[in-house]
């Protein structure tokens, strides 16, 4: 049996929502005095807004147990806010757990963000030493590896130039090169590979793979990118609301992560869904979306998928359009669709439209739709009136077989099946 390198027991981490503390000594004194007098603390009186937001505490990690063995490359996936980053932060000792404990065997080094501690005025070489030391290397160790690091970084020509003159790509390459040559037994990474050009990304992946395979080190990797997880990891855990809901093979974990996205019911109330900042406007609000040809979270006939959308306007406007972005359940985009500029707004009036999408080419799988209502003014500039990301989740089950006998591989082939190849002539 391989040695256990990380053992996590009932790990919990609490965060307080809203402002932490009162921020000033005076207010804290006030609270303290009030408590002494047995009165209500004036600084914890909840305002109406606070009440609406619910409890003030939030468990980012809620009872996590995990054992990681030597040589594991463990992928950690989960939706935003599932606790992935908190877990890594605790493991890399940036913050301490609220309850429970973590036992480590060996040095741990984290690459939560590449280039931490780089100083713009120092040269590449000086920064390698500094960054190496920050990550826990001794000067002697860096001395031994500096040639490798420089070669790996592909920055040899600029190594004695201050890094503030570097392009952002070079900066990242150098930073990654240092981190990749760490000697620690456990490596923790948070989506560092989302940087650099394609070729360098591949190089990094290979390096990480060999670190685990040949040198027997342990790698923990957090990402939203299912592709890299599948390439890099041999074991995967899925986090949800601070708990591990799955621990095992990568393929299955990815499936569970995707399946974790529940299909929407046929009528979706959009009023209280969270709006990303870039979609927020003042002129309209999306109210609800109803799927008309929907059965059990599933579309089977995709030529004409009809929806009823209701929205209200806060002023009069014409020439609005609807934009719909379709994503696969792992977050990778499928396509974008727009409507003609025929929608209108009336102040304080509700509008209702029925539209249809043609999803005939899309292969079976789970998808989400993001809606944006936008306005085009007479200068041709587009303004978002309102929009919601992943407003509607659904599954497509095609009757016919898009891959003609093979199982469709979303990872390699994408999500759209173009028509079968037509043979025009044969010898």
């Amino acid at each position: 049996m391989r040695a256990t390198v990380i053992e996590i027991e009932n790990l919990r981490k609490k965060y307080r929502l809203g402002a932490i503390g009162s921020g000033s000594f005076a207010a804290d004194l006030q609270s303290w005095w009030a408590r002494k007098q047995g009165k209500e603390d004036p600084n914890t009186v909840l305002t109406a807004v606070d009440m609406e937001k619910g409890p003030k505490e939030f468990w980012a990690l809620n009872g996590l147990d995990l054992k990681v063995y030597q040589g594991d490359t463990l992928g950690i996936i989960g939706r935003n806010g599932a606790g992935k980053s908190t877990l890594l932060k605790i493991l890399s000792r940036v913050t301490a757990p609220t309850e429970g404990c973590v036992k480590l065997n060996g040095r741990i080094s984290s690459m939560l963000e590449v280039g931490t501690g780089f100083h713009g005025e120092l040269t590449g070489r000086e920064n390698i030493y500094l960054n190496g030391a920050i990550l826990g290397m001794k000067k002697r160790e860096v001395d031994e590896k500096i040639a490798d690091i420089i070669t790996f970084s592909e920055c040899a020509k600029f190594i004695d130039t201050p890094v503030k003159r570097y392009s952002s790509g070079m900066y990242v390459k150098l930073a990654f090169a240092v981190a990749a040559h760490l000697d620690s037994e456990i490596l923790v990474m948070d989506e560092v590979l989302a940087v650099g050009d394609m070729r360098f990304q591949e190089k990094c992946l290979n390096k990480m793979g060999s670190v685990a395979d040949k040198e027997g080190r342990t790698v923990l990797y957090v990402s939203h990118n299912m592709n890299t997880i599948q390439q890099l990891c041999n074991r995967c855990i899925v986090l949800d609301q601070g708990k591990i809901i799955f621990d095992g093979g990568v393929e299955e974990a990815v499936k569970i992560y995707m399946g974790n996205q529940k299909e929407s019911s046929s009528l979706v109330d959009l009023r209280n869904m969270e709006r990303p900042e870039e979609f927020q406007g003042l002129s309209a609000k999306l109210l609800s979306l109803e799927a008309l040809d929907y059965a059990n979270g599933c579309f089977t006939d995709c030529e004409k998928v009809r929806f009823r959308l209701r929205y209200e306007g806060y002023r009069d406007a014409k020439d609005l359009s609807l934009r719909i972005v379709m994503n696969y359940a792992d977050g990778s985009p499928v396509s974008m669709m727009t409507s003609p500029q025929e929608l209108r707004l009336r102040a304080d009036k509700e509008e209702e439209i029925i539209f249809s999408l043609n999803l005939a080419e899309v292969v079976s799988g789970k998808y989400t739709l993001s809606l944006v209502l936008y306005e085009v003014n007479r200068y041709g500039t587009r303004y978002n009136c309102d929009g919601i990301k992943d407003a509607f989740c659904f599954e497509i089950k095609r009757k016919e077989d898009a891959a003609y006998g093979m199982e469709w591989s979303h990872r390699y082939w994408g999500h759209v099946a173009l028509p079968q190849i037509e043979i025009l002539s044969r010898s």
């Binding site: 921020g23 000792r93 036992k103 741990i108 931490t116 100083h119 120092l122 030391a133 920050i134």
Partner: protein, 280 residues
């Protein structure tokens, strides 16, 4: 089966868990931070490290003009330049220690929030950087004294100059102690950082920098010397300029205070360092 874990992460620190061995393992990092502070400070400046000398010289001239010339505060027969310069460099080292270390957590939140290393590395390297500055300025101080001696002014430098390492150590430890207390508390209360810059300025006037101890009435001198930094400055002036005498009792008390402040600082720092990222 019990395994030998190299690290165990638990909520909170015991107050006595100062991990000195770990700190020693990171001595290369301390050295590199000092080097970084040096090489980056005077990048793209014309005079470069000369500023290290120009700064205290100008301050000294100002003191000599304002306090010596206009306010007519006596310097006990020692040339004004040597008198003010000596006090000034020791004080500015002290002030630097406090000011620079007091921002440890808030100013370095970016790097401290990404990667772990013993947090004490940061204040220690700042204090060491300041020490180098002090030594350079100290050499200039000796040069000034030497010039006066050659030109026939009596400067009664005496054997107590051997106390210098103890004096500098005390200044550094006291400054860093106060600095880390402030840095620990500022993670929650930012107002303290404003208070510190201001407080250090006021403190200077409560210490014998721009005037000799003899200006304080005899019966209040013991009380005055409870200011933990005052005895160090008085002894420094006695050793190199031969004015005043060594207040042994006060010095002992000030060492006690220094020790208590430093311990308190270390304990506070230790408590805060694990979770400051959640409040900073």
């Amino acid at each position: 089966m019990e395994e030998n874990w190299t690290t165990v992460l638990k909520p909170g620190n015991k107050w006595y868990e100062l991990n000195l061995r770990e700190l020693a393992a990171y001595k290369d990092l301390i050295f590199l931070f000092v080097k970084r502070n040096y090489t980056t400070r005077y990048k793209q400046t014309i005079l470069g490290p000369l500023w290290l000398i120009i700064n205290p010289l100008f301050t000294t001239f100002m003191y000599a003009v304002v306090f010596g010339g206009i306010a007519q505060i006596p310097t006990e027969g020692v040339p004004a330049l040597a008198f003010y310069f000596g006090g000034n460099i020791l004080w500015s080292y002290f002030a630097t220690c406090i000011n620079q270390t007091s921002g440890t957590f808030v100013n370095n939140a970016g790097i401290l929030g990404k990667v772990y290393f013993p947090r004490l590395v940061m204040p220690i390297s700042t204090v060491l950087t300041g020490l180098l500055d002090f030594l350079i300025q100290f050499v200039l101080f000796l040069v000034i004294c030497g010039i006066y001696m050659i030109s026939g002014v009596t400067i009664r430098m005496n054997g107590s100059i051997l106390l210098l390492p103890a004096l500098v150590l005390q200044v550094a430890v006291l400054g860093m102690g106060i600095g880390i207390i402030v840095s620990s508390v500022t993670t929650k209360y930012r107002d303290l950082s404003v208070l510190v810059t201001f407080g250090v300025q006021l403190w200077m006037y409560a210490s014998p920098i721009v005037y000799p101890l003899s200006q304080i009435p005899e019966k209040y001198q013991f009380l005055y010397l409870l200011n933990p930094i005052a005895p160090a400055i008085v002894i420094f002036r006695y050793a190199f300029l031969g004015i005043g005498e060594i207040p042994f009792l006060s010095w002992g008390i000030s060492w006690g205070v220094t020790g208590v402040i430093f311990l308190l600082g270390a304990v506070l720092f230790n408590r805060v360092e694990k979770t400051f990222m959640d409040t900073v």
